[in-house]
Symmetry: C2
Subunit: 550 residues, 2 copies
Amino acid sequence: MTVLDDSRARPEITTGPISGSRKAHLDGPDGLRVPVRRIGLSTGEHLDVYDTSGPYTDESATVDVRAGLPALRAPWIAARAAVGGAVTQLACARAGIVTPEMRFVAIREGCDVELVRSEVARGRAVIPTNRRHPESEPMIIGKRFLVKVNANIGNSAVTSSIEEEVDKMVWATRWGADTVMDLSTGRDIHETREWILRNSPVPVGTVPIYQALEKVGGDPVKLSWESYRDTVVEQCEQGVDYMTVHAGVLLRHVPLTAKRVTGIVSRGGSIMAAWCLAHHRESFLYTHFEELCDILRGYDVTFSLGDGLRPGSIADANDDAQLAELRTLGELTHVARARDVQVMIEGPGHVPMHKIAENVRLEEEWCGEAPFYTLGPLATDIAPAYDHITSAIGASVIAQHGTAMLCYVTPKEHLGLPDRDDVKVGVIAYRIAAHSADLAKGHPHAQVRDDALSAARFEFRWEDQFHLSLDPDTARAYHDQTLPAAPAKTAHFCSMCGPKFCSMRITADVRAYAEEHGLTSVEAIEAGMAERSAQFAAGGARVYLPLEPR
Amino acid sequence: MTVLDDSRARPEITTGPISGSRKAHLDGPDGLRVPVRRIGLSTGEHLDVYDTSGPYTDESATVDVRAGLPALRAPWIAARAAVGGAVTQLACARAGIVTPEMRFVAIREGCDVELVRSEVARGRAVIPTNRRHPESEPMIIGKRFLVKVNANIGNSAVTSSIEEEVDKMVWATRWGADTVMDLSTGRDIHETREWILRNSPVPVGTVPIYQALEKVGGDPVKLSWESYRDTVVEQCEQGVDYMTVHAGVLLRHVPLTAKRVTGIVSRGGSIMAAWCLAHHRESFLYTHFEELCDILRGYDVTFSLGDGLRPGSIADANDDAQLAELRTLGELTHVARARDVQVMIEGPGHVPMHKIAENVRLEEEWCGEAPFYTLGPLATDIAPAYDHITSAIGASVIAQHGTAMLCYVTPKEHLGLPDRDDVKVGVIAYRIAAHSADLAKGHPHAQVRDDALSAARFEFRWEDQFHLSLDPDTARAYHDQTLPAAPAKTAHFCSMCGPKFCSMRITADVRAYAEEHGLTSVEAIEAGMAERSAQFAAGGARVYLPLEPR
């Protein structure tokens, strides 16, 4: 493990609870403590929501990025090691063993632990947990569970610093990122990753080919299995929880991209395509895939089989290149599973709405229902600067159909590198997409938050409405722009309609009126209406006459 | 007509072309000139896109808001009047008459004029065009045509001025609003509307009950058919093109809302519910509906039958109150059509994704396929401050299923009044939703713009990419934040990956390599691959062996 460089200025990390919430824990068996974000309401009630933010939002926790987070899972990992050998969550699940990680996840999801175990056992869910990343709070990715969101962070050759990257992770998880991918290129890749891993409460994913390419001076032709393998081992040792491997970009697939509108848009995909063509050999990721499985199994690192040939435009969606690669990923899924290695499958990209369902159907059919992990997809290409929206549309639809994790897209996609605000907006847009899908899939707990917020809205409990929202700070700020005075937060109207036209006030009047006249329930009111209806019928049931002569 | 008050400061109106575009016109029969926005490309080509912005983006036009826009349709209207009596587009279409408005629309949509006439004739499309609003450029709303977007503008008791409202209309149509609704309440309703109508190139909608309520001092109980009728006539005379009428809020429907989480959230709906309950009489909008039809027919004003009982939360979606009202709207649709009055049906609101399709199915079944015009819907309640996104998700899905026009939602929804930036963001989000649905519905011209933008992106034609996007200014600004230097705009890489990792550069290299080696087409490359494939088969077809020994 790299010793973190103390000579640098200590980075500024965002800490403290989200407005209106505090950290709480749900107690489980064997001393398990599962974090939740507890939203207090003015009614005296509270609502617990899923919490990805780690100790950073816990007022009672001491944050020291140089020391890293506590190694929550260390005893569980040690106990497994004592039993002997490397054991993955998949191997345990198949053997009928319920791990502490599974128990933790079941409490977190509010479901039965047997659902967790059985879904992991059949490969329809994964728990990405490198045994060298004991700081992580276990989470599950699978279609039967809450839809998850990944945020990409990472420097590039052009901008950024290590300190900024660590806080990007903290910032992204604060707003709801379930995992982060460190896509750093350029200098200090190893050290950046070390800082992120030691401080990350969520699983961290990488694309090892990026670092491997750095090691050979940036020339894809110079890549080799050996240098790639060494990079993977290095990253496994550090604690990376899942790795994108573009092993489905085969030599024979490359020509299928020649007539595309946007060719190959995946970095990893284009690197491997370049290697295959230059050497006229099959991809070393494919030919050495079994060895790769053995390395990942040793750490319980999860494969995220990359879609190096994903479409980069509406025109290229669901084309031969994309689907040929997906078939290959399915083949590799079964190879990995046979070795007890957990697998996710990455998906597009850019897909018009009517072609989205087919992506999920084919992925499930060909890849044995391995969790699908898609980048959007963008439902149209025509709105750069708004691709968090174009892709939140596609993401909602694909998650409704069964995608288990959504990789976020920020407003800067295609244009530049996201800053702090972009990361937040991207995560919020994707929490919206994920939650919309949870509702559409009928997740048993999803609608509780909608109902709580809507009830607060209807009752003019402004503070509760802010606190229940995905972004309390912005909701409050927008409200205050029009009606900044404190009394406005208790006003029984809002700035949209003003006091006279407030429909909610009128509805309240309607209810009061109904109560005053003894019409206290739907049944009573309907009975009264039935009487009137009889009068109406007796009067000839003429539709355009008033129901009563008055 | 009100004389526009000259004593006020002349409002600042946004004029000039959108970056990279200029106003052009397509010539049609009989001297028709249909506006388009012509996007010039660096390749020497251009792309014409649908243009809602009127003369304000025309450099050759003189804009004088005090004089208003030229009365484009005046001779057509005069010619119809000469034939005798009030004639609606629906009556003409049914009689087999092709109006100049229909010809204009057909050119604008790039379709056959017979499709326009026949869709209007069967009531599946409307052309909202009050004969007293001759300044408007005809447009069509129907599921067989491009999906349209409405932007709401209007002051309130709390903020705003008339000048701001006119520019909001100009601003909203600049970014792509196909119609605007003037939802003004408070003072100066009549004068505000006059300014907007005389300067609006798009149809203007209103909700007359708001002004009627002002006239009776804001007390719903004091409303009467007579005062409402007079308000409708006043607005018809001014030139309002379509009117929201909440005639489906019946006395017997009100109790169905009593146990809702969010009661009645429509202003118009709650006003009528209050009136019905207070008087214990059926809604005067319902009992006088035929008279209302006769008034609207006289001006060819289109009904937008309002969903006063739309759900205000996920919990209330598709409930008995909503569907009972929808059935009534269906009944009224047929009454209006029998009188040659054009009809749209307004829809929700807040609906989880899995309940969206049913809304369209029932609307089409019960309302004779009248164009559906929905407010979003929001796919979740939990993200105030981001409801342009929560609702763009629902809007895309409902438009894919057949909704013809989408009423935008801004980030300030539920929180405050939208400012200029909010209006723009709301319109752009909804242009994204509409276009995503056009793609998903297979609209024959929709994908041209996606393909043009994606090709520009792939070829690093940065300026073309900006100009083809829905918001060139923001796309350029985001790019320049990371790479402001002018050479970056011609660079064959971008800030996301830097020069070494640029997948598009690598793809170009792949293509160059293929060409160098004589592999100039998919067929040639595949033939080469087939040869290798034969070698592979001869070698035993072992999957994990390199295809070639080198």
